[in-house]
Symmetry: C2
């Protein structure tokens, strides 16, 4: 199976995708657990010879989450000669053979590869994580409590977060929220990404000053005594505001 | 020669580098003219199997400009299936054969390639442009007056400029200036990159409010009657300020 797959993909280029979701007040990423091992990696894959880079990334995210039309952003190409951080090339080959259930002796599967790093911003409530052919689990992990990942994937997640933090004014981080959300959730999202506390009153004042928040005729149920107001995005206006930078 | 070269490089990944300089008030890019043709492309090349992506880019920029330690930034990976804009794959193959002086019939030189786009910010006074093995000229071109380039290279330059414009607060565009410069030159540089006029007084006030400009005991000679003051950068302070964003 792996041999057939490899015939139709680029071999020197890989994709790795940091799929972010905001779940219960935490930034989380989707990790795959390799079959018959206790080792994890980011979702990713290869570019088919007959598809564009963009189509390959979109397809991979859809395969892992069931979601279409997800926001995707290239953030870095990883081109070091040695991309093995916690586990050596030899160890990684063994894990891969276990996961695939076949010997790779005659295959150059782990030779020099340049990996294109993307991050995706998804709605954690709508995503339906699904492992691929050589993994047995696909689940959310808190970005601040990750296992030691295969390859340079811990480093990739750090770099993706740094990029998101630096570009928060221009990236549609609101895509991480459920369709209906409270200002408290939006506030918490910004705090978690930036890693610093933000004055609540001031934050509310700034975001409600934009025209992209729709105040719904609904309050969050099951919450506190004073049920908080729910909002949703006018995405057209939100994206227009992001072009100028949503200043916080 | 080309066959030997290809044995030691990645074949599915290419590098293309938009080398910017600020010369006589204009943003310019370095273009290569292919031998025995009137066709142009960006400088670029391949990654050797024994060098990292970063080393490959650094080496290529040094080969084309003679400069070491140049500021380099990845800005986009170009992974479309068809990367031929003005000249078809067939035409491009013919130009390449002319430039190399040999038939490529048995070579897969122009098969599917993903290209990693970088931009470089160089001091136009210090750069010494030099063509490579299959080009006969390497020269500066005004970004607003470019020929129709091979591959998708016009598009790449547009994207590089857009990135530089969007990230001007965080990118060391001062690297484009000569060692000693006037506030007028710095002002003009920002106007040219942003493509809009900036109030001169206000601009001067903002930039001199930072601590990264060193006022020299020197004035620009040969200029107007009132010779303008020369400045240089304290690059350590400049880079520190860029981390927060140099607000203009």
């Amino acid at each position: 199976m792996i041999r057939e797959y490899l015939e139709n993909v680029l071999k020197e280029v890989a994709l790795d995708i940091v799929i972010f979701a905001f779940r219960e007040g935490r930034m989380e990423v989707l990790l795959l657990k390799w079959k018959h091992t206790d080792k994890y990696s980011l979702p990713g894959g290869r570019i088919r010879v007959d598809e564009s880079l963009k189509d390959a990334v979109t397809r991979t995210v859809e395969e892992r989450t069931g979601l279409k039309g997800v926001f995707l952003q290239q953030f870095q190409v990883f081109g070091e000669l040695d991309r093995y951080a916690y586990y050596s090339a030899q160890q990684t080959r063994e894990y891969l053979e276990r996961a695939l259930g076949e010997s790779l002796e005659d295959l150059d599967l782990l030779s020099r590869t340049v990996s294109i790093g993307y991050y995706a911003l998804v709605n954690g409530e709508r995503a339906q994580p699904k492992p691929d052919a050589f993994t047995e689990a696909c689940a959310w992990w808190d970005v601040h409590d990750l296992p030691r990942l295969l390859f340079d994937h811990n480093h990739m997640i750090v770099r993706a977060l740094e990029t998101l933090r630096r570009e928060i004014r221009y990236q549609p981080v609101g895509q991480l929220l459920p369709e209906k959300f409270t200002l408290g959730e939006l506030h918490r999202l910004f705090e978690v990404i930036l890693g610093i506390p933000l004055d609540r009153r001031n934050f509310h004042k700034i975001v409600t000053g934009y025209d992209f928040l729709i105040r719904l005729n609904e309050k969050k149920v099951g919450a506190a005594i004073r049920a908080p107001q729910l909002y949703s995005f006018n995405f057209k206006k939100y994206y227009a505001a992001l072009k100028e930078g949503v200043g916080l």
